[in-house]
Symmetry: none
Subunit: 211 residues, 4 copies
C-alpha cells in the first residue's frame, strides 16, 4: 500500500515525537514513555525498532554527524595531498568551500544538528563539536609545519592555541543553528566569520594568505 498523506508509520511517529522530546528536554531528561505516548504508540512497539533510548537518538542524528565528520575528513585528506604551494594558494577557497558545504547540509537537517549541538549530553555525541575541532586543529598544525618547511617565516605557535581558536570558530558557526538564524543570513555571517579568522591567523602567524 502506498504511504498516503493521512498515514504515518509507527516509526515516523516515533521519530517525530522523539525529536520533539529530545529538543525539549535533552537526551538525559527525555522520557521514552513520553515519546511513545506522544507518538500514540506502545513501549513494546518502540522496542521492536530500537534496542534503547540511545539507539533512537543515534538513529535520529548518527547519519548527519557522520556525514559532516567525513566531509571534513575528505576535505582535509585532499588538502594534505597538495604541495605546500598549492595548499597556501587554495587554502582559503578549500576551507570556505568545506564550510559552505557543511552549512548547506546543516540547514537541510536543522533539527538534527540542534539535537547534536544542544541535546546530546549523555550520548556518544556530546563531543561532536570537539571532534570537528580536533580535525581542524590537526590539519592547521600540519599546515603550519608545511609553511616552515617551505622556508616561510612563521611566528611560533602552539597546538593549544590552535585548539582554542578552532573551538571558537566552530562554536560560532553552530550559533546559527542554536539561534535559528535563517539560512542565507547564516551563510553570509559564516563567510564573514571566516574572513575574521583569516585575518586573525595572518596576525598570529605573521603571514599573509591568498596574496
Amino acid at each position: 500500500m502506498v504511504n498516503q498523506d493521512n498515514v504515518t508509520s509507527t516509526l515516523e511517529k516515533i521519530h517525530i515525537a522523539a525529536k520533539q522530546e529530545f529538543l525539549d528536554k535533552g537526551f538525559q531528561l527525555a522520557s521514552l514513555r513520553n515519546i511513545v505516548k506522544s507518538a500514540g504508540v506502545t513501549t513494546g512497539a518502540f522496542y521492536g525498532y530500537y534496542k534503547s533510548k540511545e539507539e533512537l537518538f543515534d538513529a535520529l542524528v548518527g547519519e548527519q554527524a557522520e556525514h559532516v565528520l567525513s566531509l571534513f575528513d575528505t576535505t582535509l585528506g585532499n588538502f594534505n595531498k597538495l604541495s605546500g604551494e598549492e595548499q597556501t594558494r587554495k587554502m582559503t577557497d578549500i576551507s570556505e568551500d568545506a564550510m559552505f558545504q557543511m552549512v548547506n547540509y546543516m540547514y537541510d537537517h536543522h533539527d538534527e544538528f540542534k539535537l547534536l549541538i544542544l541535546c546530546a549530553e549523555g550520548t556518544k555525541y556530546v563531543d561532536f563539536i570537539h571532534q570537528l575541532v580536533l580535525r581542524e586543529t590537526e590539519s592547521s598544525f600540519a599546515y603550519i609545519g608545511t609553511l616552515k618547511q617551505m622556508g616561510i617565516k612563521v611566528k611560533p605557535i602552539n597546538k593549544n592555541l590552535i585548539h582554542i581558536v578552532s573551538s571558537g570558530l566552530f562554536t560560532g558557526v553552530f550559533e546559527t543553528i542554536v539561534h535559528d538564524m535563517p539560512k542565507e543570513e547564516a551563510k553570509e555571517y559564516i563567510q564573514q566569520l571566516q574572513q575574521f579568522h583569516t585575518a586573525g591567523w595572518e596576525q598570529l602567524l605573521g603571514v599573509k594568505f591568498g596574496g
Copy 2:
C-alpha cells in the same frame, strides 16, 4: 567553637562531596543521595541548608557566576561612560584588562568554573557563557554605533555576526578551563586569542584599533 583543622563542618562536607559528584556526572545525573552519603551526612541535614539540588548547585557556583557577570557589567558600564575618542584609545587595554581579571578569578575558582561550563545542564546556569556573550555583543554593537557617530567609516556589521564572533571568543577562553590548561599558559594563549580577535575585528570593520 573554632573550626579547627581536624573538623569539617557539615556544610563543608556537603560542598566537597557535591562538587565531586557534579563534576563526575553533571547536574542532572548527580544523585543527592550519593552526595550526602559521600559527605557522611544525612538527607535531613542537607535539607536544613538547602531547599533543593538546584539550590545546592547555586551555592557552589552562584557567587562565581555573579562575580564574572558583574565584572563585565562594571567594565562595560565604565567603558560606555567614556567619550568616543577615549573608547577607541583605551578599548584594547580595557578589554584585555577585563579578560585578565576574569582569567585570574577563574583560575582561583577552577572547579567552580568547570561546573559552570561543563556540568550545568539542567540548571539556570546552562547559558552562563551565553550571558557573557550577550553582554559582549551589546557592548560591541554600541561601540560600533559610537564609531559611526564619530564619523569614522565602518563597514556595516550586523548584531548577529557580533554574537557569533563573541560566542567563539568566550568558548575559546573557557577551553583553558575545560582542558585543565595551566594558568600561566592559559593567560598567554588568551592574550594571543585576543590579538587574534582584534585583527579579526579590524578586518571586519575596516578600521585600525589602538594605532
Copy 3:
C-alpha cells in the same frame, strides 16, 4: 517433499533452538523471542505449532517423561501380578532390569532428561523425579506388605522412610545426567548404587534378598 539433508523444517529449527535456550536459562528465564530468533523463524510461525511456551517445553520432553513413567508403571504392574515368592526371587533382577532400561533410554535422550531434571522449574515437570519416587514408594510399600503376608518377619517400616530413601535413589541416578557422566561409567555406578540400596534395605527390613 522429502526432508533432505540440507533442509531443516521450521519445527526442527524451533526444537533445536528451544532446547539450547531452555538448557541455558531454564524454562522460566528462557525467552521465546530468543528462541524464534535463534531458529531464524517468526513468532507467528511458532504459534502455528504451539499454543504457549509451556506447550513447547512439553513437546520437547513430554514423550520422554511419559516413556520413563510408563516403563515403571509397566514394570511395577507386572511385578505386582507375581506371587509373593516370585516377587522375592525376581525382585533384584526386575528392579535392576528396569533401571537398566531407564538408563539406556535416558542416555539416548540425554538433553531431554537434562531439561526434565534441571530446567523444568515453572512447568508441570518440576516434580518429575518426585513422580518416579511416588511410584517406587508405593510399590516398595506394597511389596513389604506382601512379605508380611507371606509370614516373613520384617521390621516395621514407614512409608515416609521409603519415600526418603527412594528420593535418594533417583536423585543419585540422575546425577549421572546432571554431571554428564559417560554412559558406560554411569551404568556401572548405577549398578553399584543399586547394590548399595539393596544392602540398605536388607539392613532396614532385617531380611536377605535374592539369597
Copy 4:
C-alpha cells in the same frame, strides 16, 4: 519505644511478605512489587533496606545456609584431625551427631530451608545441596584413603560413586523439609536413613564399621 505485639516494623513486614512470595513462586518469579504491596510498604522503603531482590533473599536464608555449611566444615575438620583408628571407631557417632545437629537447626528454621531447597533458582544458593554433597564426598573419599593406608582391604571405589550416593543421602534428608514432615518423625527417619547408608557403604567397601 518497645516493639509491642501490635507493632510490626517495616523490615519485619517485608520479611514476612517476602518469605511468602518466595515460597509461592520461587525467587525468579517472585515480584518485588507484590512483596512490598503485601507488606503494606512502598518500593522506596524496601530499597532503604536492601539493594536488590537477591540481597533480600540472601538476608532471609544466608545465615542459615552458612550455619549448616560451617557445621559440616567444622565436623569434617575435626574428623580429619583424628587418627585412622579413631576415625573408624567414631565415624558413625560423629556423622550421626552432625546430622542430628543439622536436623535440629533445620527445623528451627523450617521456612528458610524450604526457601534454600525449593525456591533458590536464580540465586547463588541454587547449589546449596550440591555444596554439602561436595564436602561429604571429599571427606568420604579421604576416609577411604585412610582405610587403605591402615592396611584395611577396601574394594576400589570411585569418587563419582561417592558423589552419587551422597547426593542421594542429602536429597533424602531434605525431603523431610520439602514434605513438611514433623520434626520428631523426621529425626527418626533420618537416623534410619543413615543406618541404611551405613549398610550400603559396608556392602560397597566390603568392610564392617563400628564393629
